[in-house]
């Protein structure tokens, strides 16, 4: 279990999260949605152990993340952050192999896992290309592959009897991806959950979030304003609370699945 219990976080003196309680369990895909600045990335960094809460506790299986060594953490969870700046000209395979090695794979196995993870994100053939020569979307997928290789290596290593669940934290995994690869990336996330991983992904496209996630967690102003199955929580009131928009939520074409059509928003005009 990856838990945030009544967590508050301040960055540079400004409160970003207040009283957030969230549990990420094995086998589920949780989508985090919310307006820009609602605290989504901060929540992800909190669960990654990157920042400590000023109040409350962030725990892995009941143990505060801050008490775990970075290496031990790296064998239980992998993180894909938003577009990072690469300092030197590493190849795609090298970057993904760093993930595998962080998960505990020896070097040779790491290279094999890296190739497999790259194939998984539809980048077979790009192994030896420097990441700096890839497009933004391709580079994004390299980092997704790195996170996949990391959890896979950790799984193979089988510490804690291999029974302890691993977690995958993805900050906008679909950003700058084309439609096909957006669906593909979320398909990968679902497949990982089916293998028993807990997946948390920050998503901007509500319709994608509804299709991909078991649970939707909505943040507004640093607080959780909704947490539940998409069919239950996403309604007109939800869209108003989260985005401050009056948008009708439709039902169909698949019965019971809500969808949002921005075309039906009021015309662009000064608010």
């Amino acid at each position: 279990m990856l838990d945030a219990v009544d967590c508050s976080v301040s960055l540079g003196g400004a409160p970003v999260l207040s009283g957030v309680t969230l549990r990420l369990g094995p086998g589920e895909v949780v989508a985090v949605v919310g307006a820009n600045g609602a605290g989504k990335s901060t929540l992800l960094r909190l669960l990654a152990g990157e920042i400590a809460p000023s109040a409350g506790a962030a725990c892995l299986d009941g143990r505060p993340l801050s008490t775990l060594h970075p290496r031990a953490l790296a064998r239980r969870r992998a993180v894909m952050s938003q577009a990072s700046q690469l300092a030197f000209s590493f190849t795609a395979a090298e970057i993904v192999a760093f993930g595998a090695e962080a998960g505990g794979a020896p070097r040779r196995l790491g290279e094999a896992l890296a190739r497999r993870a790259l194939a998984r994100v539809d980048l077979a053939g790009c192994e030896n290309r420097p990441v700096s020569t890839l497009s933004g979307g391709q580079a994004q997928r390299v980092h997704l592959a790195r996170a996949l290789a990391q959890v896979e290596a950790a799984e193979r290593r089988g510490e804690d009897g291999g029974a302890a669940p691993r977690f995958l934290l993805l900050d906008e995994p679909t950003a700058s991806l084309d439609l096909r690869h957006q669906l593909h990336a979320l398909g990968v996330a679902r497949a990982m959950a089916a293998r028993g991983l807990g997946v948390l992904a920050i998503l901007h496209d509500l319709n994608l979030a509804i299709r991909a996630a078991d649970r939707i967690v909505a943040l507004a102003g640093g607080r959780i304003v909704a947490d539940g199955a998409p069919a239950e929580v996403v309604d007109d009131g939800f869209v108003a609370r989260v985005y401050g928009l009056t948008l009708p939520v439709g039902r169909a074409p698949t019965p019971g699945i809500p969808f949002i059509l921005p075309q039906s928003a009021p015309p662009f005009a000064p608010a």
């Binding site: 990157e50 953490l73 690469l86 300092a87 192999a97 760093f98 290279e111 497999r116």
Partner: protein, 356 residues
Amino acid sequence: MLAPSPAARPRRLGRASVLVGLVLLALAAFASLSLGAAGLGPAAVARALGTALGEGRAALDPTTAAIVLDIRLPRAGLAILVGAALGLSGAVMQGLFRNPLADPGLVGVSSGAALAAVTVIVLGRETDALLAPGLGPHLLPVAAFVGGLAATLVLKRLATVSGRTSVTAMLLVGIALTALFGALTGLLVFVADDGQLRELTFWTMGGLGGATWVKAFGALPLMLPLACAAPFMARGLNAAALGEAEAFHLGIDVERLKRLGVLAVAASVGAAVAVSGIIGFVGLLAPHLLRVAVGPDHRALLPASALLGATLLLLADLGARTLVAPAELPIGILTACLGAPVFLWLVLKRRATLGA
């Protein structure tokens, strides 16, 4: 399912680069031993070395023994030591700062170390009597280490804004620090007497003249921590190339890596400056050439940078000794002649992104 990987190519290249580096270093070392003002050729030197190893020094004619064993050998040894320390320091520092332009000589670390060393030379005369006699060979390296460390900490502090080290800020702060330390060194030169002056020229331009085994062994203890830590830092530096947060996600204790790296680099550069003065650009040149040739993976880059740094400095010293023989060029001038154009080229290549 998991077939032998074509991706293994970069790694083998990495290993090969270390082997090639060793061969080049051996060749450069032999060239350095064989060429010089005394006109003792390769064959004579090889014979002398063989005799010294086999039958001992007494079997050699005293002049040959003095030239090969007392002058050229310690000088080559010191060049290897200092070059390796500078090459490795450059590679580690560039990894820590996440930038290929971070050369200890360029961003004020070496001049901070030199200032501290010069202070000891000029002001130390008065306090000499107070010091324990055995401290002599270690006092300069330690002072240079403290100076280099202080400069590194100030640099990192001033160039880092909310966790991100800006390249532009780093280079500008480096320029300011170099200028400031240079001015303070100048002030000390102004109050120095004639004997001290000659010693001081050496600090500011660098040189391996007057190398002895005592000097080399005095510097060695401060160079060892970086050499020993480097293999353990390689994975962390690789991960750090993705960013500090990403390195943490990959299981790296980033704060510890930075602390260890900064301390070990300052010690290593301080020791190098203490025995050879400011020799710039070796730490820039060696890692840069290697990133082009074998790629940026620090597991190969770090050992290869040490080897290439040593080779470059041996060759630069060879040039310094022979180009205007019997006089000697300050070696720092030679390395700057080679390194400055490369630096300029690096800057031009990244000109578009430097403003960021």
